[in-house]
Amino acid sequence: MTLAFTLCSINYLAQARTLGDSLKRTNPHIRFIIGLVDRLDVAQVPEDKLPDFELLELHRIGVDGLDQMCEHYNITELNTAVKPYFIRYFFEKVPQVRNVIYFDPDIIVYQPLTQLENLLEANDIVVTPHLATPIDDQLTPNELHHLNTGVYNLGFIALHKSIEAMEFVKWWEEKLFDECKIDLCNGLFVDQNWVNFAPVFWNNIHVEKHPGWNAAYWNMHERRFSQNKGEHWVNDNQPVVFFHYSGYDPAKPSVVSKYQDRFDFEKRPDLNPLFDYYREELLRNHNAYYRQFPCFYIKKEPVYKYQRVRQLLIKPLEAALRLLS
């Protein structure tokens, strides 16, 4: 059995529902679970706003040291750090699971995942690169950015239950327990940069470069989209299998993604049908309603007052540090 899951807090439930709806339409045989990095009992989401999909709250999967993780991670870090913990839970605790697929909540699956399931018969792990071909300009994001943050996009990963895959998941868990941070100068970018090691430490990894897989703002330079007979196509004759709407906000419909400055809808009118559909789906799935929920696990940011006094106290100490280096 193939199980697909996503991870989010309540504020992203519109995205998760949209992903779930798309899987139900295109891959009804795949069991879909929303891993919820939040507490429904505390948030008191009314019955009619609960998604129709299976929800699995983080505190139910038994993560050792979860309190410590919550203590030093922000919402993005925590949502990415628990990924391997959920994968292991599915492999070990859910009967008959042979394949586990992770999708970021802001993905829509447009086609049957037959090719992926076939790949998983022969490979332990399947990932997709950010870029399958070079990008020549130096706008954002360019090749240098991915060298800091990871050459594979971890909005998607698929694994086949095997000794190697389990080894990988356990190693990833250990890394993400306390090093799922954004700290580029020290080589850290949440869960993603670590996966650069996957083809180095393990052997049975497939890197899929199909332009219809994990299409997103970072690889639009190599992918042109079109619509024909209700289907989305990429580079003329290949189907869009899943599209990743990273950094898109239906409240700002003219912005392709808040993380890039290369494309807009004027330069790339071919994107309109894909994004028009996504916006409608999110609105239909109550995006504005869910957005207001704060995540249970994340502490409020403290406020630091008296900055000038602090700076005055720190000055001599910093001078001492400089002398020592």
Binding site: G187, F197, V207
Partner: protein, 315 residues
């Protein structure tokens, strides 16, 4: 095996160095099997037997010489030299070695791999390890998965595209600046198995042994030659970082090998200054007392800066 696969490839080996590193280069050259054609590229000066970067006639040479220090220039010039030697010698394949490499292996292994692949790279590590004296796993994340001290390429359209792509990047993005995705030429190699076909990641433990992977590769001397982890013949060792880091003292076999190597270097006019070490840059050795004093001052600074006086009140 079909007949084509055993056709002899005309292979060039080259290195790039600054003139002061010539004693290293001589040991490398002597260690290669007779009959292998060996070329030297130089930056920041000239060598009688070498080709100077300035003489390649590339339009970006002047700006690159201005932009980079000698270490970055050595790194950035590699794909330019590769292209130059391939064309000038009409070669079928090219192998790059750092000047500090000592070849001890069986050359036919490289040739056999080049029959089947366009590019050969060596991962800097092959298995998880958590923490070693060199550093921890994340130290490799912003410095590169594959080692730039060795690579081999067959002359094909595929690798011509690769070299052109790499040249364009290294023209202005070959600094050592890990906070911005740059570690000279090395971090760029992360893209090669993704962008280009027929790339072999060679995980043979005897290839490209160096300070950063000694924790997974125990080097020993046996009657039949140097071995890695008892079994694998040692094909080549890169002394680039071990020359200047005393971590190597923890590994008796590697240390003995290094002594033998340095003796040879010495006989060619003395041991040059140690080349750039990424580990020394990122994890400088600091005396214990200094380190702990720095830590306590830093924690005082942190508590003054981050002591919260009150928390935000809910809307």
């Amino acid at each position: 095996m079909n007949q084509n696969s055993s056709v002899r490839l005309k292979t060039i080996v080259f290195t790039v160095c600054t003139p002061d590193q010539y004693p290293f280069v001589k040991v490398l050259a002597e260690s290669l099997p007779a009959g292998v054609s060996f070329k030297i590229g130089t930056v920041a000066g000239t060598l009688e037997k070498g080709v100077s970067f300035a003489d390649l006639g590339h339009s970006e040479v002047a700006s690159m010489q201005q932009r980079y220090d000698a270490t970055a220039l050595v790194a950035a010039s590699k794909p330019f030299f590769a292209d130059y030697f391939l064309q000038k010698e009409q070669a079928d394949a090219i192998v790059y070695f750092d000047p500090t490499i000592w070849w001890l292996g069986d050359w036919s292994e490289i040739e056999a791999q080049l029959q089947n692949y366009d590019v050969i790279l060596t991962p800097r590590l092959t298995r998880t390890f958590g923490q070693s004296s060199y550093g921890d796993e994340k130290l490799f994340l912003n410095t590169g998965m594959y080692d730039a001290g060795f690579w081999a390429m067959k002359a094909t359209d595929n690798t011509r595209k690769l070299l052109k792509w790499w040249q364009e990047r290294l023209t202005d993005r070959a600094y050592f600046d890990v906070c911005n995705g740059m570690n000279h030429d090395q971090l760029w190699l992360n893209y090669i198995p993704i962008y280009f076909d027929k790339v072999k990641l060679n995980k043979n433990l005897g290839w490209n042994v160096a300070l950063h992977n000694l924790h997974e590769r125990i080097v020993t001397s046996t009657p039949s030659g140097w071995r890695v982890n008892q079994e694998t013949p040692l094909a080549f060792f890169n002394f680039k970082e071990s020359i200047s880091n005393n971590i190597v003292n923890q590994y008796a076999g590697a240390l003995a090998l290094q002594k033998a190597y340095l003796q040879r270097v010495q006989s060619h006019g003395g041991v040059p200054a140690a080349p750039f070490s990424v580990r020394t840059q990122l994890r400088p050795t600091v005396p214990g007392w200094k380190q702990s004093l720095r830590q306590s001052i830093q924690s005082m600074i942190d508590s003054i800066r981050y002591f919260p006086l009150y928390h935000k009140i809910d809307q």
